[in-house]
Amino acid sequence: MVIDFSQPTPVEISEERQLSASRREMVLNMGPQHPSTHGVLRVLLTLDGEVITSCDPNIGYLHRGVEKLGESHRYSQFVPWTDRTDYVAAPSNNLGYVLAVEKLCGIEAPERAQYWRIIMGELARIASHLVWLGTHALDIGALSISLYCFRERELILDIFEKFCGARLTTNMMEIGGFSRPIPPELPEMVRTFCKVFPGGQRDYELILSENPIWLSRTRGIGVIEPEVAISYGLTGACLRGSGINYDVRKAQPYLLYDRLDFEVPLGSHGDVFDRYLVRMEEMRQAIKIIEQCIDQVPTDGDLMLHGSPYTIPPHDTVLTTAEDMQRHFIWVIKGFSPPKGEVYSAIEHSKGELGHYIVSDGSPMPYRMRLRTPDFVNLQSLPYMAQGAMLADVVAMIGTIDIVLGSVDR
């Protein structure tokens, strides 16, 4: 097909929609290329002046068929794909997936690995919240916050890089634990971060928390009532901002979260500002969790479950014993076959409940793989919030839901 570039490409706004808008109204196509839709979200807005009369999010511009890819890859091969769903919190996605497979296989990682998984998961939560805060503040017009946030996020990425060599798509966790050793300087790096970060967070709060412009832009904007939040199936800060106490880490503790002391911050008004406060407090609690873990984690011990048919054998025995070498060969070439059955496993991701639903038919590849990504579900609430709001508020609302299109579209 020859595309004629001399003619303008019409914006795809259907005739029907154009006609359904009354003469006073204007249809505005926001995205998929727009600076504050956080990627390739497309929102069709009907405006009366600057007031929204209808809001229609369109997704799918970053659809890569991750679920289908999961069904055509062996279990351990899918871990890198989880990095590419929510790419600002890759370790959390790794964690959600490996926990689901471990649940399917009925195995559990060694204690030391579990502690480090919590640490990496919480660091990823802070990194993700920092990206959220930076872009959210940028959308509302506070220019410098984003750079301050990225300054602290850099330290987290350095920790990831030290551990696994990658900064964004970490591919960090393996079924049964970690396949890499913990570098000896890593605990110190994490401790340093825990010391430095509260100072950085104070910077953001000094600029934002009591700023009258910030308050007027976020207070009473995008209110979600508790019952509405439940009916939309919201999770994460979007749910807790409305005052409902549901956190997977407390409701169904996984890893070693039941041993740790932390609080779940709750909002009371369900507006953009409360969700901001909830996420700020979550970062503080994450630091608290990391500090406890780094004190409790054993300094040596296995990071990978050994002797299980579902996990990769350790490197040194692969080189010295025949059985492990054969098992390693089979594990790499053919993969492993978990028992038949189905499993749903959820973790508290930085954006809400990240669920993996896996159906196994006993072959090395899953029969069905389903990702319940939190921001996909949370995005449903945008039309509800946007009704009667102003154009500038829609930008704040997209920010407050905290979407990553890689995760929404999968």
Partner: protein
């Protein structure tokens, strides 16, 4: 008579060129200062301290493709940036850069002209300059641009009133609209119990100064009042569809406006060329730089207002304060309380 005209032309020529040069370096200044606020370095690759950055920017913008959208209103689309750009530096014509000096036996006034309605003239230029934005946004045939133009129209109409009325206090005190006269009034120092203080209107009109500052930022479409071009909502607002040098006309006009408003504010409230020692244009430059720094500081710190909040601020908060200020100044003047 002709002598005076020639000196006006020469001074005008110098002022215009210096202003254009300053404007280019204003972009460099903003980048550097903003970068420092944000934990960055700013331009470093183009010459020492990135000093050649404005030239690199100019070359880049000149070599860009000039795109005119198919459904744009062609004539208005082409004219709009020119309106903004041409009107922007005209305000500098009435700013006094110094008093008269004698050069080669000729009497040279260090200002282009001394209008008796200079302050009104500057305000009027601001109002006409916004036509560039409104027409550009309307003619682009883009809905974001249209929204930007609408916002700009509403914003300028509201803040113009505040801007103009905030100056009434100054006019009452100085008894003149001529900027030269206002500067001369401010150069007489007052003494409070033996303490010599300059009669700058920032001291006798602090409320008017604050209101003027807020309205001036809104008038020049700068953060936190940069709604017409809010890049995260309207992508670029009125200049979304402009590219290359047409875009840079809008961009340059914004920076020239900032400089002119800073000069205007320094002249009206901070005594202009008047300083503690050696009066001269350098004092004006220092004062204007403080205002320009303030612009960048605001941009680095504050989030953006929402459209309705912006209008609410103008009409519900600033407007009553402006009238209060006028009434107070008038009463004080009428009954002659204090030294002023």
């Amino acid at each position: 008579m002709y002598e005076h005209l020639i000196s006006s032309y020469i001074v005008g020529f110098i002022v215009l060129n210096v202003l254009l040069g300053l404007m280019a370096y204003m972009t460099w200044f903003e980048r550097k200062v903003l970068a420092r606020f944000q934990d960055r370095l700013g331009p470093t690759r183009t010459g020492p301290f990135g000093l050649l950055q404005p030239i690199a920017d100019g070359v880049k913008l000149l070599s860009k493709e000039d795109i005119i959208p198919a459904n744009a209103d062609r004539l208005i689309f082409l004219v709009a940036p020119l309106i903004s750009f041409v009107l922007a530096p005209l305000g500098a014509a009435v700013i006094p850069f110094g008093r008269s000096i004698t050069l080669f036996g000729y009497n040279v006034d260090l200002y282009v002209t001394d209008l008796n309605i200079a302050a009104l003239y500057v305000l009027a230029l601001g109002s006409i300059g916004v036509y560039g934005i409104i027409l550009g946004g309307y003619a682009s045939g883009n809905r974001y641009s249209l929204l930007g133009a609408l916002r700009s129209a509403a914003q300028v109409v509201s803040y113009e009133v505040v801007l103009g009325l905030s100056l009434v206090g100054v006019f009452i005190l100085s008894g003149s609209l001529s900027l030269l006269q206002i500067v001369n009034e401010q150069s007489q120092s007052l003494s409070f119990g033996g303490l010599q203080v300059p009669n700058w209107y920032i001291l006798s009109q602090p409320l008017a100064f604050a209101l003027f500052l807020v309205a001036a930022v809104a008038e020049t479409n700068r953060s936190p009042f940069d709604l017409p071009e809010a890049e995260t909502e309207l992508i670029g607002g009125f200049h979304t569809e402009y590219s290359g040098f047409r875009f840079s006309f809008f961009f340059l006009a914004e920076y020239i406006n900032m400089i002119v408003v800073s000069l205007f504010a320094s002249t009206l409230f901070l005594g202009g060329i008047d300083g503690p020692i050696a009066d001269g244009v350098w004092w004006l430059v220092i004062k204007a730089l403080i205002f320009l720094f303030f612009y960048v500081w605001l941009r680095a710190t504050l989030p953006r207002f929402r459209y309705d909040q912006l209008m609410g601020l103008a009409w519900k908060v600033l407007m009553p304060l402006v009238f209060l200020n006028i009434a107070l100044t008038g009463l004080i003047r009428l009954f002659g309380i204090g030294a002023i």
